[in-house]
């Protein structure tokens, strides 16, 4: 949890950027990310220093080498000057020169090289780091403000970065937008990641799904990090995120870092365009909310995806991709636009048939239309499926989310106090509160999908549909296709009654006209 005090400090940093001339929120985040990274490097270095002092041995790993960096006159600046703890005390003009002319070249060149084998994700994404803070004054102010933010605690760091990421929400282009955290958490809860899972988000953006999966694991499997093998897996092999936007990659990897994952695999991949040799059947869990905008040319689409389904539609190609990435037995929770559920093109039908007949479609969770407001008004659903290559769909569970805890207009104001929001609220919800936040109920019923839920009528908020019914509907997966509406008996008056009423009115009109006539005489 971060306090209001820290929040207002972060807000101050943003305001400083705004008034300092950087108004693109993505750029602000990027520059802050670099500075946070520098602060971390300094902390790592200090840690090593302390260790060596304590043990009376020379330092095992130096982030900042000894001597000077050799840039400029007189052999350049001492590497020590590039440390956060040093330059934060410099005069603004000097600090600006050090960061622009020495620190950033260090980030771009030296860091990756001197680490040798350890080219961590973070160092990797710093290769093309650009320093764009325009003035010494702004830099000094931002460094000052950031220095005062407590970064010792992993939870705080992560929440803090999340809070900042909340500010870039408006930067959606090409169909990208930030998935609301409670929807991410819901999908993570539904798939319950295990310590041995290999998790992939092929359109990871700020790595929200991976971060939430990591947090979930720490919370539900507290011993995870005490087991050397699992810890190694967690830090180096569990998390995989792809994106084709370098800024997002930097931000995504920093998000993971601040949430305490040492070396996640966050890397550049154009998921739909590049061939997937080496990636296919590698993952046991896919969590994603891919951008579903527009269509691609066949020439620019990975051939292996077109073999699965011949289409230009990105949302269908992503579904094909998920199937391709998953190991047999691997599961997925992914957001799709409504059209995927009922679209009538051959590709639509073919993919749905594939999910139902060749794999195991577990559930369709219909989300309310306003979930992605104000960035997009699209209607969406969460598809939950397991790749089996051998079918296995018996009953598909449908749930219609009518309320997710926030108003469904552009404001998205919370409808409940904070401890009653999200899929796993700290306080239990009453019936009335359920009507404002369906997510806890959804989660509870999901667990019952092979039991009590089978008995629920099609008029209920959730119900199961046998595979045969779905096949009979041409694999249409829209909830409305199966939902039955409760018809209230129409209260209608008998025709005689209405006619009597009419006759009475007629008579009154006649009488009224007579009276009026009398008054006008």
């Amino acid at each position: 949890m971060i306090t209001g005090h820290i929040k207002s400090r972060i807000d101050q940093i943003w305001n400083a950027f705004w008034s300092g001339g950087i108004s693109n929120p993505l750029e602000v985040i990027e520059q802050i990310t670099y500075l946070l990274f520098l602060r971390r490097l300094d902390d790592l270095h200090t840690l090593e220093e302390n260790k060596s002092a304590r043990l009376g041995r020379p330092m095992e790993r130096r982030v900042f080498p000894e001597g000077n960096d050799g840039i400029g006159k007189d052999g350049g600046r001492p590497y020590d000057d590039l440390r956060w703890s040093r330059f934060k005390h410099f005069a603004p003009v000097d600090m600006y020169a050090v960061i622009g002319e020495h620190v950033f070249p260090f980030l771009r060149n030296e860091l990756a090289r001197q680490h040798g084998g350890d080219d961590s994700t973070y160092a990797h994404h710093m290769k093309d780091a650009r320093f764009t803070i325009p003035t010494p004054a702004l830099l000094a102010k931002v460094v000052d403000l950031l220095d005062a933010v407590p970064m010792e605690d992993r939870d705080t760091k992560g929440d803090l970065y999340e809070y900042m990421l909340g500010k870039i929400a408006g930067a959606g282009q090409n169909g990208q937008f930030r998935t609301p955290r409670h929807i991410i958490r819901l999908m993570v809860e539904l798939t319950a990641p295990q310590p041995t899972d290999v998790i992939c988000d092929p359109a990871c953006g700020t790595a929200g799904f991976l971060v939430a999966a990591g947090e979930h694991l720490r919370e539900r499997h507290p011993n995870l990090l005490h087991d050397a093998r699992l810890r190694e897996h967690f830090h180096h092999r569990m998390f995989h995120g792809f994106d084709f936007d370098h800024t997002m990659l930097r931000i995504g990897s920093m998000n993971m870092l601040l949430h305490g994952v040492e070396n996640p695999d966050i890397r550049y991949r154009d998921s739909l365009a590049q061939d997937h040799a080496g990636e296919e059947e590698k993952y046991t869990l896919v969590l994603a909310n891919p951008p579903f905008a527009g269509s691609l040319d066949y020439e620019n689409t990975a051939k292996d995806l077109l073999q699965i389904v011949k289409t230009k539609k990105t949302e269908l190609l992503f579904l094909a991709l998920f199937l391709r990435l998953l190991k047999a037995g691997g599961r997925a929770a992914v957001i799709v636009p409504d059209g995927v559920l009922f679209g009538s093109s051959t590709a639509h039908k073919q993919l749905r048939r594939m999910l139902v007949e060749e794999h195991k479609l577990d559930a369709v969770v219909k989300l309310p239309g306003g979930v992605f407001r104000p960035y997009a008004g699209v209607s969406t659903a969460i598809l939950l499926f397991t790749k089996t290559n051998s079918g296995g769909t018996d009953q598909v569970w449908f749930y219609e989310v009518a309320a997710d805890g926030w108003s469904l207009d552009d404001k998205r104001t919370p409808l409940l106090p904070e401890d009653k929001l999200g899929p796993v609220p700290r306080a239990p919800l009453s019936e009335d509160e359920h009507a404002k936040n369906n997510l806890p109920d959804l989660l509870a019923r999901w667990a019952q999908r092979s039991g009590a839920e089978r008995e629920r009528p099609r008029t209920a908020q959730s119900f199961c549909v046998p595979k045969a019914d779905i096949a009979a509907q041409g694999y249409d997966l829209s909830l409305n296709r199966y939902k039955e509406v409760v018809h209230e008996a129409v209260e209608h008056r008998a025709p005689k009654e209405i006619l009597a009423e009419l006759a009475k009115l007629e008579e009154e009109i006649q009488r009224g006209m007579k009276e009026l006539e009398g008054m006008l005489k």
């Binding site: 209607s379 025709p495 009026l516 006008l520």
Partner: protein, 375 residues
């Protein structure tokens, strides 16, 4: 206005209580037992009140100043709350509230309205409005006459509203609710009851300007009637004219927009065709009467019976979906009887609408004369 009655400025005959008003943001307003009024009447309810007496409210901003027929003043009484979009007028002893309301309700106040985008009638402006002021008993007589005439209009409107529900009532009485089919009539897929097809796709590039013919599009098809005030035209070649020409008794059904909205073509114009956004259904007359089917669709659309067929998001009633629509089929003789009754109601409604029109004219005429002293 003639000089029959003395004239006064509004500011001289009423007291403005504007300073007592208090606006409440919609989100902060707690619904309650008291009415909450704005420029054009009741806005909602609130849990407190400011005024407790008969008063006249006159729109300040956001009123229908450009079209005073729609009313710019109205009476309130009892415990009320008024926001700052309406002037609050308390008549002085020399003026009757009912009379003043009749004077102001359709008054053309444009000379006193300021502001270009959203007209505003300031208090200073409103105070200058010139009102006729006959002696008090005469005011009351005029108000009484106008009230009487107004009540007649209201009754006529009420009668029309009753007629609107009559057809539904007769349908339900004869056939039951199609969503549940309580009388257990047999059902057939729509495609087996009617021969259906979509109309011609409009292609701007293919237009040669020859053989242009009027055609119906979605907007022209309203429930049970056609709005043919603006028909578009496109080319129809000989084959298309043969296939797509409308005949009386053809049922036209909207594919998008409000999917399922339908009307029966009566030959409103001599030669007409239809566009791709519409289905034309030609029922097998041994099975179904077109007007019955139109009403059946109305019930299905209005009561959600189409929801399993169309999607909630992209609302389209495709040919595929229409063809499988379960269609409740009472005996065709019973359907025809229903159609006869509907026709009877339609005639009645036409007469009543004409009568309402006359009553509106009567009221306007009385109002016009009243304030000139010619009543």
């Amino acid at each position: 206005m003639t000089d029959t009655y003395p004239k006064k400025q509004l500011g001289d005959v009423v007291e403005f209580l504007d300073s007592m008003r208090r606006p409440v943001t919609e989100s902060d307003r707690r619904a309650g037992e008291y009415p909450y009024y704005g420029a054009n009447g009741l806005q909602g309810t609130i849990d407190d009140f400011i005024f407790d007496e008969p008063l006249l409210l006159l729109a300040e901003d956001g009123g229908h100043f450009g079209s005073p027929d729609r009313g710019i003043a109205y009476r309130v009484s009892g415990k009320t709350w008024v926001n700052n979009h309406a002037h609050v007028l308390r008549p002085k002893a020399c003026v009757d509230l009912g009379f003043l309301c009749r004077v102001l309700e359709n008054y053309d106040v444009t000379p006193w309205v300021t502001g270009t985008t959203r007209g505003k009638l300031t208090q200073a402006g409103a105070a200058q409005i010139v009102v006729p002021l006959p002696p008090l008993p005469e005011q009351r007589r005029i108000a009484e006459i106008l009230d009487k005439a107004d009540a007649l209009r209201a009754k006529r409107r009420a009668a029309l509203a009753q007629l609107d529900t009559l057809t539904q009532s007769i349908f339900l009485d004869m056939f039951g609710d199609p969503a549940t089919n309580p009388k257990g009539w047999p059902k057939k897929p729509f495609g087996e009851v009617c021969e259906t097809r979509l109309g011609k796709m409009l292609d701007q590039k293919q237009q040669t300007g020859q053989n242009r013919r009027p055609y119906l599009r979605n907007a022209n098809v309203q429930w049970f009637r056609f709005d043919i005030t603006n028909l578009l035209e496109m080319d129809f070649d000989e084959d298309e004219r043969r296939i797509l020409r409308l005949q009386p008794g053809d049922l036209l059904i909207c594919e998008g927009g409000e999917p399922g909205r339908a009307a029966v073509w009566q030959g409103e114009i001599e030669e007409c065709y239809f566009q791709k956004a519409l289905h034309r259904a030609r029922p097998d007359r041994r099975l179904a009467a077109p007007d019955y089917l139109a009403w059946l669709l109305w019930f299905l659309v209005k009561r959600g019976g189409l929801s399993g067929v169309t999607s909630a998001t992209i609302a389209h009633l495709t040919g595929e979906k229409l063809a499988v629509l379960p269609t409740m089929l009472p005996p065709v003789d019973l359907q025809r009887l229903f159609v006869c009754r509907v026709a009877g109601i339609k005639t009645l409604a036409t007469n009543q609408r004409a009568s309402l029109h006359q009553l509106d004219a009567l009221f306007a005429s009385l109002q016009h004369r009243a304030f000139r002293g010619e009543l």
